[in-house]
């Protein structure tokens, strides 16, 4: 079977989304959760590049992806910073320990 580059990109996007959401749903470790978020964002960046290619506006697609990288890095940094504090105060990175607020 002969896959076009666009199809390949779509499959890659779906794969990244699948892996990312799996990490969010199944992972007990906070670092893995944040990595999962990163994988999700990579999928959406790829989607922008692909969309730019499909509509014939590659530069716009790429510049959007770059902006996403910047914003997403800030989010990741804050997330990791909070995780460090959580490790310090809870003594663990287990998501299950982070259920003091509920009901």
């Amino acid at each position: 079977m002969n896959l076009s580059p666009s199809m390949l990109a779509v499959i890659a996007i779906l794969g990244l989304l699948g892996v990312g959401f799996y990490a969010l749903l199944a992972s007990r470790n906070l670092i893995k959760v944040i990595v999962g978020l990163q994988i999700l964002v990579k999928g959406s960046m790829l989607a922008f590049v692909l969309a730019g290619r499909l509509v014939g506006n590659v530069t716009l697609g790429q510049s959007l992806a770059l902006t996403v990288i910047v914003v997403d890095t800030i989010v990741a940094v804050i997330g990791l910073a909070i995780s460090v504090q959580i490790r310090r105060h809870f003594g663990t990175l287990d998501v299950k320990a982070l259920t003091t607020l509920r009901r």
Partner: protein, 582 residues
């Protein structure tokens, strides 16, 4: 002129409320004085409205948007109820000077009372359906705040919230009715609605009619919403007299009377009104026969008497219902305030611990007996005249089975009234309670109300004329006093009722010899003491809501993975709706 007096009779109590609150609880004397002055001034303003009664809007605030014009009309129904609210209100405030002496948080008490008086006046004078609802809810808010005035007492808090929630649930009916009217007519003007009700689609009019009936039943503590009123007796007694006997609970009756011309042709509506009134009158009277708490007996009797008024409206007797409302406001306020004097003196509400208090409190006994005779419907007190008018209207305009029940309830009323009077003031002392007679301010209020109970029936002629002249849509037949008297004394309904009342009295007199009958009715009296299961229904609804709320809290696990699952589930549901719903 009318505009000024309308604004004064709403504005004065509200200004007074602000001032009393502003003065602060460090100056109780000043608070008492201010409250009395402002409530009396409001009463004067409202009384001055009566000669200025008219059918056209006197005050208009053009608010615009979806809110319409805020209008007020001083028509007969409105000015009469405004006068009742402010006059009984000022008497209750005067009574409070003694009754609430030395209480904490007086500012909150008087502020809420005055706020209530103003809102009640607004409710009856406005002709904008939105404002009717607004004032309706403000009175509910004040009633709640005053029932639970003693917030440290869990029973008072519970009673207040119960009253609030039940009247609010009923209020949804008024809301729906008002909104239906607005969505078809584009105006909130209630006279426009009454004049053009026939042009609404039949289903819409019926929905509005029954919505209003639900609201009225909840507000006036009628079947099946009657349960909140007895629990509202945790309020300080002047509040029970003012809000839960003389004014707010009449709002439902007022609503039905006001919109009677619009709804009378809705199929089944008048019958439903008759049934609601009849069942309330009957069930509450039965419960009053077995209750042992003095204020609860009076509360049940209020429900029962309100049932008479509702019944009269269902039978087409708008005038009779309003006249009974008038009499009832006066004599029931008297009864409640006299009961308050008793409770204030002896410190309990349990009638089983009272007895033979008449010797210690002759003045209170005298006025209480006057009120009780009026409640029982004995000539020539005001309760007799209005009750006979109600029964006559029922005989002419209502079904005969309902009339039979209502006459029977008149007998029950006489029975429980005498039971109550006897248990409190006569017989033997059943404990070592010592009462002292009423103090000065109390005597002023009680004396004036007793005077009213003896004389207000003389006003039947002018009262009828007032309603007749300013409420053309209601087609009220006004008769002078002489003709009313002639009508009543020649009507068979009067003699039937008097006979039954006599039987009721006799039953109490011969209660020892009727012991066999009494034991046969144990089941009934037990059911009555359990309020015929309505309390259980209330409790069931509350606990079902609480339990489902508690059960739902399990979904908030606090687990991050679960939360993300919620997001994905939401996405799947939305896509499913979009895919299959289009």
């Amino acid at each position: 002129m009318a505009a000024t007096f309308i604004l004064l009779s709403i504005g004065i109590p509200w200004l007074g409320a602000l001032l009393v609150w502003w003065v602060g609880d460090q100056h109780p004397k000043l608070q008492h004085t201010l409250a009395v002055v402002f409530s009396v001034l409001a009463g004067a303003a409202a009384l001055a409205l009566i000669p200025n009664a008219a059918t056209a809007a006197a005050v208009t605030f053009p608010v615009g948007g979806l809110f319409g014009d805020f209008t007020f009309i001083p028509d007969g129904l409105g000015v009469f109820l405004a006068a009742v609210a402010t006059v009984v209100g000022s008497l209750a405030v005067i009574f409070s000077v003694n009754y609430m002496h030395g209480e904490h948080q007086l500012g909150r008490y008087y502020a809420m009372v005055l706020f209530f008086i103003g809102a009640m006046v607004g409710l009856v004078l406005t002709s904008n359906l939105l404002l009717v609802f607004v004032f309706w809810e403000i009175t509910a808010l004040c009633s709640y705040a005053l029932i639970s005035f003693h917030n440290d007492d869990p029973k008072a808090v519970k009673g207040g919230i119960k009253a609030l929630i039940i009247t609010q649930i009923g209020g949804v009916g008024l809301l729906a009715g008002a909104l239906l009217v607005y969505s078809y007519f584009g105006t909130y003007d209630l006279n426009y609605f009454i004049a053009n009700a026939g042009s609404l689609p039949a289903g819409v009019l019926a929905a509005a009619a029954f919505g209003f009936l639900i609201a009225a039943a909840a507000k006036s503590a009628q079947f099946p919403f009657q349960t909140w009123l007895p629990d509202a007796m945790e309020a300080p007694t002047p509040i029970s007299a003012l809000i839960h006997a003389a004014t707010m609970v009449n709002a439902g009756v007022y609503l039905l009377a006001r919109f009677y011309p619009a709804f009378k042709d809705v199929p089944g509506w008048t019958t439903a009104v008759v049934i609601v009134g009849m069942l309330s009158a009957l069930l509450a009277a039965l419960m009053a026969c077995v209750a042992t708490d003095l204020k609860r007996v009076l509360a049940y009797s209020t429900v029962s008497q309100l049932g008479y008024m509702v019944y009269a409206i269902g039978a087409g007797g708008v005038f009779a219902s309003q006249f009974h409302l008038f009499s009832h406001s006066v004599f029931k306020a008297l009864l409640f305030l006299a009961a308050g004097a008793v409770i204030h003196a002896v410190g309990t509400r349990d009638m089983r611990q009272m007895g033979a208090l008449g010797k210690q409190m002759p003045f209170v006994r005298a006025v209480f007996v006057i009120g009780a005779l009026a409640l029982a419907g004995l000539p020539i007190l005001n309760g007799f005249w209005s009750k006979e008018l109600v029964l006559e209207a029922g005989l002419h305009g209502g079904p005969i089975w309902a009339f039979v029940v209502m006459v029977f309830v008149a007998g029950l009323t006489a029975f429980y009234t005498f039971r109550c009077v006897y248990l409190v003031f006569y017989g033997e002392a059943r404990s070592h309670l010592h009462g002292h007679d009423a103090q000065t301010a109390m005597k002023v209020s009680l004396g004036l109300l007793a005077l009213g109970t003896l004389t207000t029936w003389l006003l039947v002629g002018p009262f009828g004329k007032l309603l007749h002249d300013t409420l053309p849509a209601h087609e009220i037949h006004a008769l002078p006093l002489g003709e009313v008297a002639l009508e009543i004394f020649t009507a068979p309904a009067t003699y039937i009722a008097l006979a039954v009342i006599a039987v009721g009295l006799l039953c109490w007199w011969m209660r020892d010899r009727l012991a066999g009958l009494a034991s046969a009715l144990t089941g009934l009296s037990r059911a009555a003491a359990d309020s015929f299961g309505f309390e259980a229904v209330n409790r069931g609804i509350v606990s079902a809501t609480q339990n489902s709320a508690e059960a739902l809290r399990v979904t908030q696990t606090g687990l991050l993975n679960w939360n993300v699952l919620g997001i994905l589930a939401g996405l799947v549901i939305v896509i499913a709706i979009l895919a299959f719903g289009a």
